[in-house]
């Protein structure tokens, strides 16, 4: 943990160059999107919005992969392929999630998570 903090504070003084500069901006964007998604997941009570927040988190990661691939490791296309896998898996996850939400809507007549509290003890 201590080392990690040291690394992060040392980040500014590193010789990043032109590539590093452009990449830093993209990382800031994707990190911001990631945490907006996380914030949305924890504050929103509507199931569909929560699902959208999760998709936002996954897509912010896609930006990271593509950017790292283009700026740092352009000789192979690993990052881009990974993001295609993420898109596919995210679609599968969304399908399952929508099925669960529809089933809940049928029984509860609501898609608000605050109404779904049978397990609270």
């Amino acid at each position: 943990m201590i080392e990690l903090l040291f690394h992060i504070t040392a980040f500014k003084s590193l010789p990043l160059g032109e590539v590093g500069g452009a990449l830093t901006h993209i990382i800031i964007l994707s990190t911001a999107l990631f945490f907006i998604g996380m914030y949305g997941l924890f504050t929103r009570r509507n199931m569909i919005t929560m699902l959208m927040s999760i998709e936002l988190m996954l897509n912010s990661v896609n930006i990271n992969f593509v950017a790292f691939n283009k700026y740092l490791y352009p000789d192979k296309m690993d990052g881009i392929f990974f993001s295609i896998f993420i898109i596919a898996i995210a679609a599968a996850e969304a399908a399952v999630a929508i099925a669960i939400i529809i089933n809940l809507y049928r029984t509860h007549k609501s898609i608000d998570v605050d109404d779904v509290t049978d397990l609270k003890q």
């Binding site: 080392e3 997941l41 996954l58 740092l72």
Partner: protein
């Protein structure tokens, strides 16, 4: 069996996926519950056979995976264990699985798909495969958890599991992205940076590993990321809780060990702070909360968190000793948990009172359940004792300065005896009329076999560990 890095563990992965499809389509033709169960058992024997054929180099499907999957003795042996455990689980609880809803064949198919993910996790050599393995393993479980469509609790548990599962997937992906930014690779082996910009971004590597660590802690329900576990385990149909708490959880630990065996060095000193912290929090959260539960099912959910704390000890020393320990723990913990859950699903009332006087009405069930619970508590002469011993010893082997952590763990194990023994007390020393559903002689025989296995491994753990080196 020689180590061949270029070939993946293909048989188990391909066959488990194919068998899942066959099972799903079989559901169209076969209508009777008994037929579906029989088909599942036959298919599991085929899966086990194909895996053993590869294990002993008789027959395997050669596929060039470009080093994404690596065949290792450890992974292969773990696959043998989880496939055998699934077979045992289906033999024991197959009747209950088909009774959960109207889609018996699909439940088995989803179990096979989940097993496919678990086999990928035991042989991955690349973070892409880690991601795919985790997802293939958990997405079927979201469906299985919410499979009791009319039951609100089951639906809610499914939603909760989905939200927490995909949230942790997001964290895992962020970790992998940072790892990729730091190294330019998805392979889990060490690598070198080439140019200056790449060198500068190498600092993302420890951050990425931290994210992956948090995400995998979610998957194996280690505190402080355990809060979803009790609700999900409680809400899901009991038969599927049994599967989630055993095969899926231990597969998560294998993924954990494979990555941090090679990469914990990159986290440096922070690893030494993080790991004991997580272990102590997990033991605390699991054991202390379990004491206050009224429902046996919920108590078992918390106890599975406590066991995760013990299994995390393997990360201290992920060399041969730690690996032997996790194998032993997987077998001991899974056998005992599958057994207790099998008894639990037969009970009509899941509270402690529901077990009152079980020894008088169903002596075999009570006796075998006692052995399972003794093993979970880690009493000597049962498999659970040596499993815990190996875990704690591997931490001590790493360095004797871990002694304080081992002492804390032993104290928590003593706490666990309290809530485990409440079940035994209810079964033997309280008057009551414990009601169960119909119990077949075959079910009793299997319970006795499992109990015997636990005792045999408890007396001679070398029997199992020798197989590992055979």
């Amino acid at each position: 069996m020689p180590e061949r890095a270029e070939l993946g563990v293909m048989n188990a992965i391909i066959f488990s996926a194919l068998i899942g499809v066959v099972m799903m389509l079989g559901g169209i033709v076969i209508k009777s519950n008994a037929g579906i169960k029989l088909l599942a058992i036959i298919l599991l024997f085929i899966l086990l056979g194909s895996h053993l054929a590869e294990y002993y180099d008789l027959f395997n499907i050669h596929i060039q995976t470009h080093g994404m999957l690596a065949k290792s003795r450890f992974g292969m042996f773990f696959n043998t264990i989880i496939i055998s455990l699934t077979l045992l689980y289906v033999l024991l609880s197959g009747d209950e699985i088909v009774k959960v809803g109207t889609y018996g064949a699909e439940y088995f198919a989803l179990i096979f798909f989940s097993l496919c993910g678990a086999t990928i996790l035991s042989s991955y050599n690349n973070l892409l495969m880690l991601f795919l393995g985790v997802e293939i393993m958990t997405i079927p479980l979201f469906v299985l958890t919410s499979s009791e469509k009319k039951n609100l609790k089951s639906n809610e548990a499914g939603l909760k599991y989905f939200l927490m599962g995909s949230f942790s997937t997001g964290i895992l992906l962020m970790g992998i992205a940072l790892y990729y930014g730091g190294t330019g690779l998805f392979a889990i082996e060490a690598s070198k940076a080439a140019n200056e910009a790449q060198q500068a971004f190498r600092i993302l590597l420890p951050l990425g590993l931290l994210f992956i660590f948090i995400s995998l802690s979610f998957k194996v329900s280690a505190a402080p990321f355990h809060f979803w576990t009790p609700d999900v385990y409680d809400g899901a149909p009991s038969v599927f809780t049994s599967f989630m708490a055993t095969i899926v959880k231990t597969a998560g630990f294998i993924a954990f060990i494979k990555l941090f065996e090679l990469r914990s060095v990159d986290m440096g000193y922070s690893w030494k702070i993080l790991l004991p912290l997580i272990i102590i929090l997990t033991l605390l959260a699991g054991n202390i909360t379990a004491v206050f539960q009224q429902s046996v099912k919920r108590m078992l959910a918390y106890s599975s968190i406590a066991h995760a704390g013990f299994m995390l000890f393997a990360l201290y020393n992920p060399n041969d000793f730690g690996k032997q320990g996790i194998m032993l723990y997987t077998v001991a913990y899974s056998l005992a948990t599958i057994g207790t859950f099998a008894v639990l699903t037969k009970m009509k009332d899941y509270t402690y009172e529901g077990y009152n006087g079980l020894a008088k009405t169903k002596p075999v069930l009570a006796a075998t359940n006692t052995i399972f619970i003794l093993s979970l508590a880690g009493i000597p002469l049962t498999a659970g004792f040596f499993a815990k011993y190996y875990m704690l010893a591997s931490a001590l082997k790493e360095s004797t300065s871990n002694l304080w952590l081992v002492i804390v763990a032993v104290l928590f194990a003593a706490v666990s005896v309290y809530y485990y023994f409440r079940v035994i007390q209810a079964m033997y020393f309280k008057d009551g009329n414990a009601e169960t559903t119909e119990i077949k002689p075959f079910f009793k025989t299997l319970l006795i076999i499992i109990a015997a296995l636990i005792i045999v491994i408890g007396l001679m753990p070398s029997l199992l560990l020798d197989l590992f080196y055979a």
